[in-house]
């Protein structure tokens, strides 16, 4: 099941979709620009998914901008996952998002998988 989430911005600014994979895993697909305008939406959304599922995969392949507010939202979600013993796994082949994670030396904070199926493989 894929749910398109209504948000206040057109899809070309930020898009958030979630797909359920069994009772305990969800895949969040993020597209567009994650900045000060859109990061609060992402933060709330990830918080909801982590509250509902044991494994949350965040697919960042369609991200076209990742600013410090977006990095902060991802970092907070990761902290929540660690705190609540949930698994948050990232998939990211977006050059811009990868550059943001590398330049800010935040990449090591997160768990990455090569693909969504790979990220779901270890979910129960």
């Amino acid at each position: 099941m894929v749910t398109r989430v209504d948000n206040d911005f057109p899809a070309d600014i930020i898009g958030l979709q979630v797909a359920e994979h069994g009772p305990d895993a969800r895949v969040v697909t993020v597209t567009g620009e994650i900045d000060t305008l859109t990061a609060p939406k992402l933060a709330t959304f990830l918080n909801e998914q982590l509250s509902a599922a044991q494994v949350v995969v965040v697919d960042l392949d369609g991200v076209e901008f990742l600013g410090s507010a977006g990095l902060s939202a991802l970092f907070e979600a990761n902290e929540q996952a660690n705190r609540e013993r949930r698994a948050l796994r990232m998939v990211c082949h977006s050059r811009i998002a990868n550059r943001a994670l590398e330049a800010t030396e935040l990449r090591d904070q997160f768990t990455f998988a090569d693909s969504v199926p790979e990220a779901l493989k270890h979910s129960t």
Binding site: D35, T36, F65, G67, S68, L71
Partner: protein, 154 residues
């Protein structure tokens, strides 16, 4: 939004300190609002691309300018203006942005997550403030410089 391009000086503009033809100066004046920031960071990336910055440096500058503007917008006084000046030199872009603030109790966001990100992205960063006085708001200014080539990671 105001666009000033010193490459085509206005008549009677006075002496331009950046009259060197190898230096381009561009100033944006916007409402200090989050909705202005995507435009400002896009201008930054465009200037860097035209100045032959490498891809990583273009991305870093785009993120750094976004971050810098977001920090200022967060502390700006109501209805304040955000002034953002780009100086494009050979191999280097300098950005200076400032805005009015009401409260200068703790005006410089230099301990924040955003500031730490800015330090990673830019080659130089700086922040200064002028305290408010009765009848006059305070002013916060953040500057950064970015080189055209990203230094290889150690």
């Amino acid at each position: 939004m105001t666009y000033v391009d010193s490459g085509t000086p206005m008549p009677n503009h006075g002496a331009d300190p950046n009259s060197d033809e190898s230096v381009l100066s561009l100033e944006l004046r916007t409402t200090a609002s989050t909705v202005s920031i995507p435009t400002i960071r896009t201008v930054a990336a465009d200037l860097a691309a035209r100045a032959d910055f490498d891809l990583d440096s273009i991305d870093d500058l785009r993120m750094a300018v976004d971050d810098l503007c977001a920090m200022l917008v967060r502390i700006a006084a109501a209805n304040a203006t955000l002034y953002c000046t780009f100086t494009v030199r050979p191999e280097r872009i300098e950005v200076a942005a400032e805005t009015d603030v009401d409260d200068l109790a703790d005006p410089l966001p230099t301990g924040s997550f955003a500031w730490r990100v800015l330090q990673c992205l830019a080659d130089e960063v700086g922040a200064t403030s002028v305290p408010a006085e009765p009848g006059r708001p305070g002013r916060v200014r953040i500057t950064l410089a970015k080189d055209a080539l990203t230094a290889p990671q150690p």
